[in-house]
């Protein structure tokens, strides 16, 4: 079996997002996968088990040397994949000929671009940062083009954010984990429960959604929010005194806790402004919702409309107060059974077209062909 070393820029204790099952479970059917995480707090290298290594962040620049010093046989790897960190990718490329592996770059999200957008939304001047971003992106393209394959989250993400990358592309998108589906739990409340999961910041314009909620005449609803940006969420809902009692804010610490929270709600919300950073891939939260059988009200994009059909397995809405209000009113008129059926259909659809089982096979086939 060929061997892959996956180096992620994530922290040891981070709940490793929805894509973790791909590397932790499904790819292992086709490849032997070792994973490197980093720690900002511990001083020494640790083998968590046979396949997981935790490396102190201070060794990022000399990672392969550190692995070697801890008896990891670098010659044994056929592929070394780096997630998001160009500095790490550069380091891995430097030793490609020594250890004879294929170097792969995984691009999960244009984080720097998003940060600039967020800062701009807060009114900060980002002229210099934009210039730096352009220069850095050019440099990064060169490094990525030196790799053997590029693994963006979606085709669109490649075309919009790294268009000059010309090496073989292998799509590595989030998908649904067939082994981690939560059954939808019908709650006792008469109201319809909406849920929003994920980051909250100015750029996501969540106030548009709250504006729509505050216009609803039907008051039989609740909105659950699970976010790490708890303070931002509290500040934001303070601006909506007429509905703030209907909103509950959580900060689910683990994926299990999050899925358990979602399972107790009726409809997920994945409404985002029409920006390429959001429309270039399907938001992970959509997979979170459907994993619990909860259907989703989402913004329509090229991406989402290739998977879902309005009114059949999801609901689409434009990102305007009027449109969202109209859609919410419609959803409040549906019975719980109707809603559940849409959720079940959506889950089935995702299992059909976007599940880690098939994605892993596809990625493994393409890696073997490199």
């Amino acid at each position: 079996m060929q061997k892959l070393l996956y180096i992620t820029d994530q922290e040891e204790y981070v709940d490793h997002s929805f894509i973790a099952p791909l590397f932790e479970i499904y790819l292992k059917k086709y490849l032997s996968v070792d994973i490197v995480y980093f720690t900002e707090f511990k001083s020494d290298f640790t083998c968590k088990d046979e396949y997981h290594y935790v490396v102190p962040a201070r060794y990022k620049n000399v990672l392969l040397k550190e692995l070697k010093q801890n008896n990891i046989d670098l010659h044994s790897y056929d592929f070394v994949m780096v997630r998001n960190s160009i500095a790490l990718m550069k380091h891995v490329l430097r030793y490609r000929d020594t250890y004879h592996y294929k170097a792969l770059y995984r691009f999960s999200f244009p984080k720097r671009k998003v940060q600039i957008k967020c800062n701009e939304a807060e009114g900060k001047n980002q002229f210099l940062k934009r210039c730096m971003h352009s220069i850095q992106t050019k440099k990064e393209m060169k490094i990525i083009n030196s790799c053997d394959a590029f693994l963006p989250t979606s085709k669109k993400m490649h075309e919009i954010y790294r268009p000059e990358v010309t090496i073989p592309r292998i799509i590595c998108s989030p998908a649904i984990n067939p082994a981690a589906l939560h059954e939808h739990q019908q709650h006792d409340g008469d109201e319809t429960r909406f849920v929003y999961v994920g980051t909250l910041d100015k750029i996501r314009e969540f106030n548009t959604i709250l504006d729509a909620f505050s216009l609803l005449e039907n008051k039989s609803w609740k909105l659950y929010i699970s976010t790490r940006d708890v303070e931002f969420a509290h500040t934001l809902i303070e601006e909506y005194p007429t509905i703030k009692e209907k909103i509950r804010i959580y900060n689910a610490k683990t994926k299990d806790a999050l899925l358990a929270l979602i399972a107790k709600t009726d409809i997920g919300i994945a409404l985002l402004p029409d920006l390429p950073i959001y429309s270039s891939s399907t938001p992970v939260k959509v997979f979170d919702y459907y994993s619990s059988g909860v259907p989703c009200l989402m913004t329509q994009s090229d991406h989402t409309s290739t998977i879902f059909t309005d009114e059949r397995d999801a609901w689409f809405s434009d990102f305007t107060i009027e449109d969202i209000t109209e859609k919410l009113n419609y959803l409040l008129s549906l019975s719980k059974e109707d809603i559940m059926q849409i959720g079940a259909k959506g889950q089935a659809r995702l299992l059909d077209v976007k599940n880690y089982e098939t994605l892993a096979k596809n990625i493994a086939d393409q890696l073997t062909a490199l």
């Binding site: 040891e12 900002e40 707090f41 020494d44 962040a57 790490r228 610490k253």
Partner: protein, 449 residues
Amino acid sequence: MTKNHYDVLIVGGGISGTALFYELAKYTSLTSVCLLEKYEALATLNSKGTSNSQTIHIGDIETNYTLEKAKVTKRTAKMVEKFCLQYNLQDKIMFSHQKMALGVGDKEVHFIENRYQEFKELFPYLELWDVEKLKELEPKIVYLDKAQTKIRPEPIIAMGTNTQYTTVDYGAMSEALAKEAQKASGIPTDIFYNTQVVDIFEKEDKTFEVHCKDGTIYTANFVVVNAGAHSLFLAHRMGYGKHMGCLPMAGSFYMTQSHFLNGKVYMVQNNKLPFAALHGDPDILADGKTRFGPTALMLPKLERFKPGTYLDFFKTLNFDFHIVKIFWDLLKDSDIRNYVFKNFLFEVPLINKRLFVQDAKKIVPSLDVDDITYAQGFGGVRPQVLDKEKEKLMLGEASINPGNGIIFNMTPSPGATSCLGNAERDMLVIVKYLGLNYDETQFLKDLTE
């Protein structure tokens, strides 16, 4: 002038040297052992109670320890506890305090919660303390103001305990180890004070000649050098450990005017730094006043509060291109650069206290400059080892054992905690090398769980 011949000769009468002295005398069949101490008493340097944090570093609240490392330190830390209990030294030189690792801000809180889950099986007594619990246990870390009316805005959480022995006067323990060694054995167990070793030579008959500054020469079948940074100095003189250099890091402390914290409060450590993060400890030698520190300042000498040793520093640093590379790698990191600069400023009169308080506020937000004073005469030197082959700063202890009857140990923190564990390691080497017997059953019964 040759004085005496011994089976084993130990150079250095700190906590590491006396621990080995004790174990050899009590648990092996050797016929004689000698301890040479440079100064007029045992443990006058880093093992002295005022030179270190007086902490038993078991690995539960030391956030930079991995689980694997904590398993090792737990065993050695328990040996210190067992020794003290065996000789009824609890509440005399070993004390129990509340202790905790405090996480401040989302990232550290997340880390502490996860670390607690990972470590609670190894340390079942650990508890996770939220703000409400901390208000009861250690209110000063919760409130922004001295009147304790406003809670600090950042999220905090701690993992800790108040059921364990936490604190030892390692200076007093060194004396206890030496005393019990001499009581335990009918063999010669000599200690010579004011005896500075300047050179060690290996003789043709495989024994060693230890030359002292006063001209005395001792001979021994086996030599162990437990002399802090001078271990490497002596190793280099014999041609050993040339792949290592020594970077002496001095640590200073600030003391509160009165009892301040109820127990030990450690912060989450930055893994880039080989030194303990700033912490607050009740000082058992200063009526429980809280000691904040240590700071970390590179000092061009091997011994603090003693004259000389500047030249020894330059020799022990073993300066070459590899050392430059290690420094370069360290200093190109802005975190380390800022840390070094800040710690330098902590030693500059007039501004030091003000700057230090800014850092210490992470533990006690209401702390102000009037609450603390620079702890004169407190602090020591940690001989951090530089590995020139790997081109990196080594964290923790280092030992050079060429296998020919001599061992050199450098034991910066947590060296005091692991003194009996390190001594056990060396004792087993000596027993094997000299063909001695060793009472393993009694050793394990006395010192391990």
